[in-house]
């Protein structure tokens, strides 16, 4: 396939993915909007007003970047894991496998498709947050780059989960028992400086802490961790997950007999 044909194949997968999650918008776009609005009202307004300052900002301002990132993470992951698993389950993955579309295009199409949903939900949550607080922009390029990289990283994670999944139970185990606890413990609702020193060190092995804090730095200009280390970690994990996903696709793990 020449470059134009490769782009058409990539675009076809991307359009199919976007068409899928917009067709079922009541399951994909509406729930995070409602959930995050409840977070803003309950944690931000009602409880937050009694908490006072966090990291030098009022509590609502502090949690908004974390909640936006939480939406991006769960939706990027959730889109690819459910879409690619359904593709396997209904066997229309075979449409792709018989075609000349190379594996890296298949992976890119699904990952960018998942990222688009993550970013779209992130945008919706950002717009909703404007009803509750003012949003600052400390560094625009940090905001854009880290949210995009995070969406890619968790889309790759969702893809790997889908490859190994053999039932619908398997696609909810990781989000429920790994992703949600890591997100809640990743500095969305608090600054790790509040923790005892030992737990501060433990928190630093949580990758989500780096993404949430980098994003918060882009908006508020404050972070619990070093931004350079955070970028290196995020890019490093993306490279590892992409390589592993390609290995799984090339060997046909979970998709070829």
């Amino acid at each position: 396939m020449n470059n134009r044909q490769l782009f058409i194949a990539f675009w076809t997968i991307l359009v199919k993915e976007v068409r899928r999650f917009t067709r079922i918008w009541a399951q994909t776009l509406l729930p995070p909007a409602i959930t995050m609005t409840l977070y803003f009202i309950i944690f931000g307004n009602l409880i937050g007003s009694r908490i006072g300052q966090m990291g030098g900002f009022n509590y609502m301002e502090f949690i908004v970047p974390g909640l936006i990132m939480m939406s991006v993470i769960t939706n990027s992951y959730g889109n690819v894991v459910s879409s690619f698993y359904s593709t396997k389950f209904q066997r229309h993955i075979e449409e792709l496998l018989v075609s000349p579309t190379p594996n890296w295009i298949i992976l890119s199409g699904y990952v960018i498709g998942g990222s688009v949903r993550g970013l779209l939900v992130g945008l919706i949550v950002t717009l909703l947050s404007l009803f509750f607080t003012d949003l600052y922009i400390h560094n625009f390029w940090v905001i854009v780059s880290v949210v995009f990289l995070t969406a890619i990283l968790f889309s790759l994670g969702g893809f790997i989960n889908a490859v190994f999944a053999n039932s619908f139970d398997h696609i909810s185990i990781i989000p429920t028992f790994v992703l949600t606890p890591l997100t809640y413990l990743g500095g969305v609702f608090y600054s790790i400086s509040l923790l005892p020193e030992f737990w501060q060190h433990v928190s630093q092995i949580n990758p989500i802490l780096y993404m949430v804090n980098t994003f918060r730095y882009g908006i508020l200009g404050v972070s619990d961790i070093n931004i350079g280390v955070a970028y290196a970690m995020i890019i490093g994990v993306i490279v590892i997950l992409f390589s592993y996903s390609m290995y799984l696709l090339n060997t046909g793990k979970g998709i070829r007999q």
């Binding site: 396939m1 020449n2 134009r4 194949a9 675009w11 359009v15 229309h92 496998l97 018989v98 000349p100």
Partner: protein, 316 residues
């Protein structure tokens, strides 16, 4: 003549240790209408799965129009269209979206894909259903949708794995006509089917696979010539209550107006007519039983079963 599909020493051992293919080799020439037959579990779907890149082979070589599936996969896949046995499209997508998306996977621009989708959906009687979700189609329509989808990139080799399974007779005949038409225009077709009448009617060459081995690979004409006996169906008058006896022939009365007569190659039909006429029975019409292939198929598979049993006994 160009070889459309070349399979050499193809082996497949599944993870559970089951050896589905034991080194099969065969070629299909360009323009052919080839039947790949075999009992359930013989290795047909595994063979086609490997050719379609849906199953990983253990060893061996597959070439599609000279393009090696290992080293030149992209070109090989462009020449190949696949209609699988089971429905494998997104049940929630619209009919037209399914075929246009498939074209996209082959790098076909949207405008051209749209044009082709209209052509093939009209050709297969699905144009009126183009905006319906695929799950609302009947079983026959779903099969036709898979054929339309497989043709979107206009492959030179089309593989159909039991395309008429569960399809009513009228629709089956119309699908046969369509397949004959695209074959006449140059598309090489490989077909697996359990309806041996279908293979006999459509295919020029045939491979029979059993227990992972090719047991016959020849032309349909040569294969049918191996039959020593042919069965003729005679409609007779007046009605008979008992089966008439014909010297030298095996005769069965089916209903009161129909006779089945087995005629060996060395025998003629004149004696049949003469003997019936002598008994005051008139033959009003005659045809031969069309599922001759079925008899051969059963005898070939039974023979390998017997050979294997003997081999097994010797090993013990």
């Amino acid at each position: 003549m160009t070889t459309a599909l070349s399979i050499k020493d193809l082996r497949k051992v599944y993870n559970n240790g089951f050896e589905a293919l034991k080194g099969i080799s065969f070629d299909v020439q360009e323009g052919d209408f080839f039947a790949l037959l075999g009992p359930n579990g013989a290795g047909k779907s595994t063979t086609l799965g490997i050719v379609s890149s849906l199953v990983n082979k253990s060893s061996g070589q597959v070439e599609v129009f000279g393009y090696n599936l290992d080293t030149d996969a992209s070109k090989a896949k462009c020449e190949l269209g696949v209609v699988p046995q089971e429905f494998n499209f997104n049940m929630f997508e619209k009919v037209e979206d399914i075929v246009i998306t498939q074209a996209g996977y082959y790098g076909i621009p949207a405008a051209e894909a749209k044009k082709r989708s209209e052509f093939y959906l009209r050709k297969l009687g699905l144009w009126d259903k183009r905006n319906e979700p695929s799950r609302s189609l009947s079983g026959g329509m779903k099969r036709r949708l898979m054929i339309a989808r497989a043709l979107m990139h206009e492959p030179r080799l089309l593989i159909l794995d039991e395309p008429t399974a569960g399809v009513d007779i009228e629709l089956r005949r119309s699908m046969w006509e369509f397949l004959r038409e695209i074959n006449a225009k140059g598309t090489t077709i490989i077909l697996t089917t359990h309806y041996l009448e279908e293979a006999e009617s459509l295919c020029r060459n045939i491979g029979i696979i059993d227990r992972g081995k090719i047991i016959t690979n020849t032309s349909m004409r040569e294969l049918l010539q191996q039959l020593n006996t042919e069965t003729f169906i005679l409609d007779i008058s007046p009605a008979q209550t008992e089966c008439p006896q014909l010297d030298g022939y095996q005769v069965t009365l089916q209903g009161d107006h129909t006779l089945l007569v087995d005629v060996e190659k060395s025998q003629g039909l004149n004696q049949v007519f003469a003997q019936l006429s002598g008994q005051g029975i008139e033959v009003t019409s005659m045809r031969n039983k069309s599922n001759r292939l079925e008899e051969l198929f059963v005898s070939l598979v039974d023979k390998t079963l017997g050979d294997n049993a003997k081999g097994g006994a010797a090993d013990e």
